[in-house]
Symmetry: D2
Subunit: 341 residues, 4 copies
């Protein structure tokens, strides 16, 4: 089965399977005290261009919740996009683990937070009756598979700095965004002023594993304790580190993210003129949002599963992965065209 449902339906990059084999030698110290983890941490520091701390975790919810846990007191609130994964798709893990309130914040038509919509939420500072905002969390790429520009990211970074807030990026699809913006990893993270980054590995082709990258020195001192406490510390951490090491070496991440993005571009181009199809969001990275008649779904799903984003309008989300092929895009297009006629 191949699908356009989610990039987490795809398997593991062959290069990462090789890295896992290579890492599977002899004994290694557990809980991240091994050589591969050391080496990979150094690689992260080189790439991010600054002395980041790196904490390898299991999954995206873990990365986000750990990030929020270290950045807040339990009387704080977190501002996140009203569409964000953290608000809609991580059960109550954020509240249960941090005690904080998560505030759904207005997005613009491209799915992005702005200085304006964030500012609207920055009220009643110092009022003890009101959950005090402490973190702004942006998602890059957004839930609409759009990308914040570097300028937009910097603007939010300036706001958070001036307002004594921490700046977090949920980068479940960080690599797709960097590839889409054709910039460096450093430019889209360190240089925009991030304090914390949830860096996605799984959707980029790893078997499991994400990383929390800590830029702000103030946040580093509690991280190791919170990492363990949040049930996100792997005893055989070397097998997460080894995958990241391979992904970060020789721009392997870029090769695969660029491919996934280009498949989305191809998909958009292929279907946009089909009668009944309406592309609903700008295609920036590896996802295409489109409306088409609901009656098509059943037949499409037999060959190409995908998710309906908005049931009222049959807006659907079509995600491309590292392993999406031109052939699949072509097959999807032909089937759609057949249903349209």
């Amino acid at each position: 089965m191949k699908s356009f449902a989610s990039d987490n339906y795809a398997g593991v990059l062959p290069e990462l399977m090789d890295a896992l084999h290579t890492a599977n030698q002899e004994h290694a110290r557990s809980y991240g005290a091994d050589d591969i983890t050391d080496r990979t941490t150094q690689l992260f520091r080189d790439i991010f261009g600054t002395d980041v701390d790196v904490h390898f975790v299991f999954n995206g919810t873990g990365a986000n919740v750990l990030s929020m846990g270290v950045a807040t007191h339990s009387y704080n609130s977190v501002l996140c996009a009203e569409t964000s994964h953290m608000y809609w798709d991580e059960s109550t893990a954020p509240e249960t683990f941090t005690g904080c309130r998560f505030i759904p914040t207005t997005i613009n038509k491209d799915g992005k937070l702005t200085q304006e919509t964030i500012n609207e939420r920055l009220i009643r500072k110092g009022d003890i009756h009101f959950a005090q905002p402490k973190v702004v969390s942006v998602t890059q790429t957004t839930e609409y598979a759009t990308t914040y520009t570097l300028e937009e990211l910097k603007a939010i970074g300036e706001l958070t700095k001036s307002k004594d807030l921490y700046y977090h990026m949920d980068g479940a699809r960080f690599f797709n965004a960097v590839a889409a913006l054709d910039c460096s990893i450093k430019e889209m993270s360190t240089d925009v002023g991030l304090d914390l980054l949830s860096l996605g590995g799984t959707k980029a082709g790893m078997m499991f594993g994400e990383a929390v990258i800590v830029f702000n020195p103030e946040l580093k001192k509690h991280m190791a304790y919170k990492h363990k406490q949040s049930m996100q510390l792997a005893s055989k951490t070397r097998f997460i580190a080894a995958q990241f090491e391979a992904l970060l070496s020789n721009d392997l991440w870029k090769k695969h993210a660029t491919h996934a993005n280009s498949m989305a571009t191809l998909l958009e181009k292929s279907i946009k003129d089909i009668q009944g199809v309406d592309i609903t969001k700008p295609v920036c990275a590896n996802g295409v949002f489109a409306k088409h008649p609901e009656s098509w779904n059943e037949q499409m799903w037999e060959q190409y599963p995908y998710y309906v984003w908005d049931e009222h309008t049959n807006e659907v989300r079509l995600m491309c992965s590292w392993d999406t092929t031109e052939e699949e895009v072509k097959g999807f297009t032909e089937l759609m065209r057949k249903l349209s006629s």
Copy 2:
């Protein structure tokens, strides 16, 4: 490097690497809705001989905390051995996620809870000022690498049933214990009356992954929600399931657990007569506890890392793994003998 430090220093069983490769085909539905997970769950039901629910999680702390979370209200307490991993080695994850109190309960000289020591803690039932006990958690094999007999486990099961408590087993080394008792998996779980089992995969030779097995129907209804909420649900769950499927097929678990256990037996036999060495606990499974002069440690560690269990007496813990070889045991013994002379 090879060590006697912990079975989680060891890598991944070659058979499981093969299983991971086989699982890495095409797309699969995420979050456990895939075919391999279905198939493996059925396999668990066959082996446990009852209609268990199976929830694949990332690590042992996650398995324990999820188990406690589903079995308690936040005003409850959990009785666990005063030496238990859950009490000493999982930070405050148990309290933070469940809100409960964890009560260190007296063990006997072999590291085991008994009906008597549990009963001592069952006081003030119905007193709202007192955290109400709701779960008894045993660790099999124990922290002393000893094993409860089936009769001992059944006795505790009868007690918990009669006192309206849930019965949980932390089975981080479950397979070693089953191999040591030379019984079936069903006999050491379903048949002793467990409500919940944290089944260890990582120390048995998996890359990552454990499972929470739910026997009690009452506990099943909340599990899926708690599973997600506890940040322990893998998007590519198939890669945990595939490892368990391989481990449970053709008694692969038994082969490797038996080997690790036999290496511990060999180690005990090899070193027990060395002057200065004192075996301190009965050797039942894959660990040996022994005292020897502290002055030996440094030289031993250069070749064979291990942990000091009790710094006051230099009691050390020597763990054997699926990949411990006779040669290593021999090398360790020779080095010790040299230091002794």
Copy 3:
């Protein structure tokens, strides 16, 4: 100083001071095991016309949070009005104590939830990634000092029953609402299908103390444990019970609530024709919402403090209390009229 800021600026009803004196005799069993508490609980059962459980607590936040704690699992969400006190004015106490998400739900122009706006939030039932709604909380009187009619309350009760949700009322100003609707306590609680009621005492003229009334038998079994655990159990509970006993006897609550309501009606009538004044919400109970020029505030505040509800429009909230006098209303009106001219 007398003010229109909040009914919690007012002191204690003289009749309740007398009741406190009467209760201050000899020794009484602590933590609610005393005779006055017993007697008052029985009185509650008579008045609510059903076998409610009554838990005396310290304050409104405690009453709400305890109610939510007993009605939810930590993976649940609570639907509350987007203007509700629980969402805006109780810090993160709700999240920290329950682990749940609190969902701001759309209100109509009179500040009320409706079947329609609640239904919009009842999505993704059974989806483990989504915080599952379990409670609907209405505030009566609302934050706009308006009142749900009995029919509106029943409609929500029918919805919650049909959707397997619990129905909670934040009744910080419950007595004002009953007086305004000119119905019985039973008609506005038991008969509309409430599962839980936070019954306000402080704003009704008590020195301290609220009560959580539990109608649903299913919720009763955990309440006593949760009561203690939530730090809301008074050792000298008799002094809360005694105040409620006096308040519920001889319709004392009604006398004072009716007076406060009538002062608000008088205030509205007195100021509504003053040039520059615009009454912005229907006046139903003991609060008046009005807009007037911001420039008036400073001089008004010197004599009569009040809160600005909306800084953008200078909409202000004028609360009347049990001790508001006609003279004060007259003085307020005259001052306003002077500023207007």
Copy 4:
């Protein structure tokens, strides 16, 4: 009914009833922004001889839990006496609100922690797998109604300072202890190095209300937020403050605490020679611990309720209150003597 069960069975000091009446004038700003609260805070600063922050709360559990909440991160542990109220009698409020572990720490025969027993628990510093100790909490008077000497308190203060721990005193019976030691309030708090004090009002004769006193400037900045979040902020705070103001004025606390203490001394003296009676703990403040035949209990309880501390030995706890009379002590003694003969 009069009893020796607990000092919280007693009612309210007449002087405090007067203070409540005096405070019940006109309107006052809510949530502690009133004049009486200001004035009383200043009085506390004078008496403690330093610039403490004062947070008025409802009950002892609230005071303790708020103190722990502000002094810890959720990955910390708290060392408290193995007999402490916080460990045995506050349900799981401490864990649920803070996420921390509470470690029962060995006491000496007089019910006191010592540098030695605290030190035993200060292991594995910096080990992320181990809940990191951050607070030592002593109870003064202790659960055995004994008192730490000033030297003993200072010794623990020096230890906590040297080990980067916070020093908390659960002073539910703080005034009894100061009276017993015949020192000043400042000498038993500020001067021994406390960071936080839970100061008991209820058992000293208040209707309700305790105070958290914050000595450490570092802890002050989060207190107001935590105060509200912990559901312990009274809207009509003036009625707690007014009671404390009266209690602290003209050494009113001392008069009543000294009386309660002297009644315990008299009780001990009166019963110690009765055949079958064995005084089991040093009598230092307002409690007497004694063993007598279990068969006496029923008849004693008809007139003078008290609690059995240890059911195995019928060790009982006899608490004297501000309103215990010589007559009652005499009556109790006579009854006992009658049963003895």
